[in-house]
Amino acid sequence: MKNTLFLSALALLGLTGPALAQTTIESKPTRTSLDEMLKPGHQEWQSMPESTIKMAPQNIAKPMLSKGTFQELKVRSSVTKNWLLIRMEWEDPNADAELTRGEFSDACAVQFCAKGDAKDTSPFMGNPGKPVHILHWKAIWQADIELGYRDVEHGYPNMYVDYYPLAEGKKTEDIKGPALQYNPARSLNNPMSLTQRKQPMEELVAVGFGSATSQAHLDAKANGQHSNKKWSVVFARPLETPDPSDSQLKAGSSVPIAFALWDGATRNRGGRKHYCMWQTLKIGGTP
């Protein structure tokens, strides 16, 4: 309700968000393998045209960011026979990949329309009846996979506990079975509590602010790295998936696409984020 009202308000006032003109991101075909393209530093990415997207602090629904830390996002895209690839790059001097010690993780996301199009789907997390399909990467998950689950002892190396009731040890992997009585989020399979992720990302569906729900089945992949004070993250998703809540894409078509960024260092999380309006993704290749 709030979103459609806002969209109409935008239309009436002739105002748009951070980008007055939509950017068209060109997604060129590639013959390089998927695994190679998942490396943000692979040289094939240099032959993909780069688009600059203006990012703005989320200022529609409380709690808001009145002042952001990121202004721009660089996007490149590519397509293989079956996969769409999106490469996001933005400047962030600190790689924040920690959730202990009161810290927050850097993150980014790509958003597609799952059912409708840019005219009837709000770029701000969708609206009832017009869901969005989101690919969401977090730096902490990247670190979990590359370096091991960032558990309590990672944040506090000198900590000491005698024992955890009903657990056979003190490590992450020892907390299982009856010991999970003390960790209901894990026994209920909360996606935030997965200690053995295969991908540093999740897929979500949303129909408006606060409704984002993790999908049980993950079709996409991601890989991120931090160097030269920049994050670069590659998402790969099948053009067509068996999941009815996913957006289905076709080579040779144009679809709305939007992005979001979170800066862990300034405690971005949830709605405290950087966003942009719908852009256009022109998917290359022959249908």
Binding site: K62, L99, G102, V152, N183, N190, M192, S193, A212
Partner: protein, 389 residues
């Protein structure tokens, strides 16, 4: 923004959601004249709920010494200072609630504590106000300070046990952008949905009492659940039942206009008004009530419990003349069962408690301890009685 009526501040106030009171509200009363900070409640809660990985620094129940104790560090000073000095006009709060004082970007006025603020859970224990003033306060201008007795005791401290207040207008629930926190219709208990929470910690930022905690193992937030599995069976929560000093009572509280006179909670809170909410000026209508400690300066207590402190203390001090009041107070800690009614049995001089679920008399407690005097020498046994082993 919708307006709701908050009886603790005697007026309507802004709240992000349409007001909807639960069918029943589970509430607590703590008698601060009796708490000895033995921390049994803390340990009971910890072994029951927060002994798992990621919960190491969580104390869903904690007992802090006022005024120099706080967990997390300085929690009440910080929010009071953010809100600024505010006023009461009689029973009506004329200042701003945390919802009304929220900054333009925020839903509620709040702050996220530093990680290190949780590092000293028992700081200030037994530290008194008024014993360590430097300078000319105690007549010594050389700064050597220190208290000396001048026939008036300036120093004071008291223990403040705290749990989640299961507020009627929770700031945690209001802060959660995903509606992962809900207040149960059947008993008003506020819970964080462990399937929906994504660990944003907006609830921690929003709650002025800092009762939600972040679990870095599960990466979700957790808080006191009012031992709801017990409550659903008509039993009082762990922290109430294990309290050695019998300072706690829990049960269902009606709104003031529907107060039931022989209901122990309604009687103490609405009829006698001897138990007061914690920092009612925040506007959350918390449901843990406190009998104020009689020895503490009223100005400090009013800051903490609102304008009816003097009346509550007067009433408490006169309890020995009021057997009905004494009965209600005597029932604290005497039964595991949640009571729906109590009465003073005049002929037996006993307090009687009636079970909420099945209506039976579940406990009776004499108001005066039976005293039997035995002679020093027992002629039959030919032995002396000693009162030492």
């Amino acid at each position: 923004m919708p307006k709701v009526f908050n009886w603790q501040i005697g007026r309507e106030m802004e709240f992000p959601y349409e007001g909807a009171r639960p069918d029943n509200q589970f509430a607590y009363i703590f008698d601060l004249n009796k708490c000895i900070a033995c921390q049994t409640c803390t340990i009971a809660c910890k072994t029951t709920w927060t002994a798992g990985k990621g919960q190491e620094t969580m104390l869903w129940n904690n007992v802090e010494t006022k005024p120099y104790g706080y967990f997390p560090l300085g929690w009440d000073l910080k929010i009071l200072d953010l809100l600024g000095a505010q006023s009461w006009d009689g029973d009506v709060y004329t200042g701003k609630t945390l919802f009304e004082a929220a900054e333009s970007d925020e839903i509620v006025l709040g702050y996220l504590p530093d990680d290190m603020d949780y590092a000293n859970p028992n700081i200030g224990e037994d530290d008194c106000y008024g014993t360590t003033f430097k300078g000319a306060v105690n007549g010594r201008s050389d700064g050597s300070g220190g208290a000396y007795f001048d026939a008036v005791h300036h120093s004071w401290m008291f223990y403040l046990p705290r749990i989640c207040n299961h507020c009627t207008y929770p700031a945690c629930l209001s802060s959660c952008t995903r509606k992962s926190i809900y207040k149960r219709k059947m008993d008003g208990i506020v819970l964080i949905d462990q399937t929906r929470c994504r660990g944003y910690r907006e609830c921690i930022k929003g709650c002025p009492y800092k009762r939600p905690f972040y679990n870095p193992h599960t990466r979700t937030s957790e808080k006191c659940i009012a031992c709801y599995p017990f409550v659903e069976q008509g039993q009082q929560p762990q922290c109430v039942v294990t309290c050695i000093g019998k300072i706690r009572l829990s049960g269902y509280l009606s709104t003031p206009e529907k107060s039931i006179k022989n209901h122990p909670m309604d009687y103490l809170i609405h009829e006698k008004r001897i138990a007061l909410p914690l920092y009612p000026q925040f506007g959350l209508e918390p449901n843990v009530y406190y009998i104020p400690p009689v020895h503490v300066p009223p100005q400090f207590l009013t800051q903490m419990f609102g304008p009816r402190v003097r009346h509550a203390i007067e009433t408490y001090r006169s309890a020995h003349k009021d057997p009905e009041l004494l009965s209600a107070l005597t029932l604290f800690g005497c039964t595991e069962r949640i009571l729906k009614a109590f009465k003073y049995d005049k002929s037996a001089n006993e307090a009687v408690g009636i079970d909420m679920m099945n209506g039976t008399e579940v406990v009776c407690v004499p108001l005066t301890e039976p005293v039997i005097v035995r002679p020093l020498h027992d002629q039959k046994l030919g032995a002396y009685r000693h009162n030492i082993t």
